[in-house]
Symmetry: C2
Subunit: 138 residues, 2 copies
């Protein structure tokens, strides 16, 4: 199976599949002409990677998951731990974004948004609003 077909079967772009070979994530054999020859197992791994990436796992985590997947005797606890960690990271990121959103929303609500030049958003960015910190050097 050439790279084009493998890409199609796994739902990944050709460039990405080639990249995964380059970083030794899925490295197929080569044909006589130098073409990558993807086995059914390779394609299976690519599909695995596509799903894991879509779930937000990093490449490093994917590598880990893949090795866990290959290791038929590993404990499911290890995989679960990885997933739980991911969830915690996602939660943290969501909270961070919520906080950003709140700040921006507050700013926007104070800005008339008309054609006049005074804008509380810029004022806040410039001065930091309530907290006016020092730096009184000239």
């Amino acid at each position: 199976m050439n790279i084009g077909a493998a890409a199609k079967a796994s739902g990944l772009p050709v460039k990405t599949v080639r990249y995964y070979d380059e970083i030794d994530l899925v490295s197929p054999n080569r044909n006589g002409n130098g073409y990558r020859a993807y086995s059914a197992d390779d394609v299976h791994k690519l599909r695995f990677l596509q799903r894991a990436r879509r779930l937000g796992f990093t490449i490093v985590e994917c590598r880990h998951l893949l090795s866990l997947y290959e290791d038929k005797s590993r404990a499911s606890a290890e995989v679960r731990a990885l997933a739980v960690t991911r969830i915690a990271e996602i939660d943290a990121r969501i909270e961070e974004l919520q906080s950003l959103r709140d700040s921006l929303t507050t700013l926007v609500s104070t800005c008339r948004g008309d054609d006049r030049p005074d804008c509380p958003i810029l004022d806040d960015l410039a001065g930091g609003g309530a907290c006016h910190e020092g730096a009184r050097d000239s």
Copy 2:
């Protein structure tokens, strides 16, 4: 004011301040010895950037905000529009993360997470779980 002091006053790392010079975001004059000489206005801009970046504006947006800030006659509507766009982006990102979180949570809840090898998380990644999509090529 040398770069170190400017960095401290703006709350940015020295490397970042130098980078902002490199990309012509805040480019101070130079002293006779080649050192960057930050004016009060430069530092003001750096602080502006620090806040805007913390709010998640990209460098391109920051450049835009900065030029709006410098332009005393611009309409506040333009700034407001930028902020509103940012909020929409944040909302989209939050939703995306929520959906990821949901998927992972579902997977984790089905996994015992003990020392036995069978793991629904990996099974799902491998096979796609409920939705078994085609790719019936051998």
